[in-house]
């Protein structure tokens, strides 16, 4: 279980979370979320991988050792979702900037 991909996954998720927790810049927070998303996607893809396997196209590689198709479908869906989330969050950051003149999260007005 512990191999290079898993270490990369843990590193990406930790990096992303630490960016979201410690960076006060909204753009960097969005980047952090993207990095977490990439880590999770890497995790999904790597767990569907089988050593020495081919692409899971049944007609093209009949009787061959195929990697699992489901995680790839999941990853594709998840990439699309994370694209939408990133775009939406960046547009909120733009709206925030237009009114507050800053993208610093400590310049918030809603508190308590």
């Amino acid at each position: 279980m512990i191999d290079a991909q898993m270490l990369a996954v843990v590193a990406l998720v930790t990096l992303g979370l630490s960016a979201v927790v410690f960076r006060k810049n909204m753009i960097k927070i969005v980047m952090g979320i993207s990095v977490i998303g990439s880590g999770v996607n890497l995790f999904l893809v790597s767990m569907g991988y089988r050593e020495g396997s081919t692409a899971p196209i049944f007609t093209a590689s009949r009787n061959a050792w195929m990697s699992l198709p489901t995680p790839q479908a999941l990853t594709l869906t998840s990439i699309v979702i994370s694209l939408a989330v990133t775009a939406l969050m960046l547009s909120f950051a733009v709206l925030f900037y237009e009114k507050y003149g800053s993208i610093d999260t400590t310049k918030r007005r809603l508190k308590q």
Binding site: V13, L17, V20, M26, I29, I33, I36, G37, V40, F43, L44, M47, L68, T70, P71, L74, T77, S78, I81, S82, A84, V85, L88, M89, F92, A93, L95, F96, E98, K99, Y100, R108, R109, L110, Q112
Partner: protein
């Protein structure tokens, strides 16, 4: 025709609002009246579908709907659940009925409340997407689809929270989107962890195969924390006050049920997916979150100046009651005697509180909207004497406030007394704190009543008068339901709540539905 709807009710409940959402901008080309009629039609149809789901699940004790299969009741020809399955039991149907009821009320209310604002087509489209997200989240039998519907719900909710555009609402929407996308990614991560071990995504299949390994525990914690975040449990509640406070009032009312969909997922994970896995620890975790939510939520609410922010903190506080009731049931899950004596009763109280909370919190947010609509301010210090000009809203507000404070004979009391009395047998201290929180809730609603409705009437407000009937009739529907549920709590309990609790406890039945 009726048979067709009956058989495919689950698919319709998700697909119709989703398809209608993207048709709204097209229909709006025919005019505003056509658009409004279309939205109401779609929502009512979805509601009928949830009632059909409810009927079918109570007749058959839960059923599955396999998307794209020639025989929808068959999970897979080989008996191995790999297809996308909607899995409806009494609890799912219960939640679907609640969310579609609120969807109807909120959409009717919005027609007048949001009148004259720009890009209303998109507003109603997002409202329908939210409905689809909720019905999808509560009916899905698949962990990955849970993630997809969660994101669908989050993205559309964020769009609604940021509806007013610049400034504070964009800030609230950004915060909401940050926490919910991280929560959703944790759900996906956990789904991946479970898939890597069992090659399954189906909840029932996973519940059957689960081994309680080290990785399963990590997945359990990730799912638990993510859904606790989505339902707004303290200390992960700060997004609630921001987003409920800044969203348009009807959207705040609808976000209440959106949070409850997160609550549903939390219960589903804890009870069905991880049936016995460290139930005591998870139960105590849920109780701790619930107690913190109740107390910190209500004390934060007491000093709020903004009427909607105050109500948002009360939503946090009331979520605590549900977590407490269900948490007690989870904590004693492994001891049948305790479960029989008070555990089931506590869970009944908790789930009964879910439906009551949706009703009275929806009503309160809508009355707050009516106050804002007429007074033009959200600051309680600047309001005065609205009762002179808005008698109907005042009466409706009193009904909602007494219900949330847990005063008889309203529905809030009926569920709270069940929680108090059953939790008392588990741990008296918890019950005492719950009662104290109820008193503080009443105190802070007395404050709202005092500052908004009593006192000398402001001349500009007096001229404005009562809100139009299109706005108070939806509120009236909720008020009538509150009184009816308060006067006949046993009927509601037997009809809705008890089957839902039994569905939640019946893990074997849920698994047996698929495999």
């Amino acid at each position: 025709m009726a048979v067709l709807f009956y058989q495919h009710s689950a698919a319709f409940a998700v697909a119709v609002p989703l398809a209608a959402a993207f048709a709204v901008p097209l229909v709006a080309k025919l005019g505003k009246a056509a658009r409004n009629a279309f939205v109401v039609l779609a929502v009512v149809f979805t509601q009928i579908m949830s009632w059909l789901m409810f009927q079918r699940s109570s007749a058959e004790g839960g059923f599955i709907y396999t998307l794209g299969a020639s025989v929808p009741s068959l999970a897979s020809p080989a008996g191995f659940p790999v297809r996308i399955v909607l899995h409806i039991d009494a609890l799912s149907a219960f939640m679907a009925v609640i969310s579609t009821t609120l969807a109807f009320v909120v959409s009717v209310y919005s027609f007048r409340y949001m009148k004259g604002r720009k890009s209303l087509d998109k507003y109603f489209a997002l409202l329908l997407v939210m409905t689809a997200g909720m019905t999808g989240l509560v009916t899905t039998g698949d962990l990955f689809n849970m993630f997809v519907f969660l994101e669908l719900l989050s993205v559309s909710s964020a769009g609604m929270i940021g509806y007013y555009g610049k400034g504070e609402s964009a800030e609230a929407a950004f915060k909401y989107m940050t926490v919910s996308s991280i929560g959703a990614l944790m759900v996906l991560f956990a789904a991946g962890m479970l898939y890597s071990q069992y090659n399954l995504l189906n909840i029932a299949g996973l519940a059957d195969a689960i081994q309680f390994s080290f990785i399963d525990r990590i997945a359990l914690v990730l799912l638990f924390a993510a859904f606790a975040l989505k339902c707004g449990a303290v200390p992960m509640h700060m997004w609630v006050s921001d987003s409920y406070g800044e969203a348009p009032a009807p959207v705040s009312a609808f976000l209440v049920v959106a949070s409850q969909a997160g609550l549903y997922a939390l219960f589903r994970i804890a009870f069905t997916l991880f049936g016995g896995l460290s139930a005591a620890v998870m139960g105590w975790g849920m109780i701790t979150l619930g107690m913190l939510s109740m107390f910190i939520g209500v004390t934060m609410a007491m000093f709020q100046k903004d009427i909607k922010r105050l109500m948002a903190y009360h939503a946090v506080s009331q979520t605590g009651y549900m977590l407490l009731g269900i948490g007690v049931g989870l904590a004693v899950l492994s001891s049948p005697v305790a479960l029989e004596t008070f555990g089931i009763s506590a869970m009944e109280g908790g789930l009964f509180h879910v439906i009551n909370h949706a009703l009275y919190k929806g009503l309160l947010f809508l009355t707050a909207g009516a106050v804002i609509y007429r007074a033009g301010t959200r600051n309680l210090n600047n309001m005065s004497g609205l009762a002179h000009s808005m008698p109907v809203t005042t009466v409706l507000f009193i009904i909602g406030a007494l219900s949330i404070a847990g005063l008889p004979p309203f529905n809030g009391f009926a569920s709270k007394i069940v929680i108090y009395e059953s939790v008392f047998m588990f741990n008296p201290l918890l019950s005492v704190i719950a009662m104290l929180v109820s008193i503080l809730t009443l105190a802070s609603f007395v404050k709202v009543f005092y500052s908004a409705f009593t006192g000398p009437a402001d001349r500009s407000i007096k001229k404005a008068g009562e809100v139009p009937a299109v706005m108070w009739i939806p509120m009236g529907i909720l008020a009538v339901l509150i009184i009816a549920f308060g006067l006949a709590p046993d009927t509601v309990m037997n009809l809705f709540v008890r089957p839902a609790v039994h569905a939640l406890l019946n893990q074997a039945g849920y698994i047996g539905g698929v495999i």
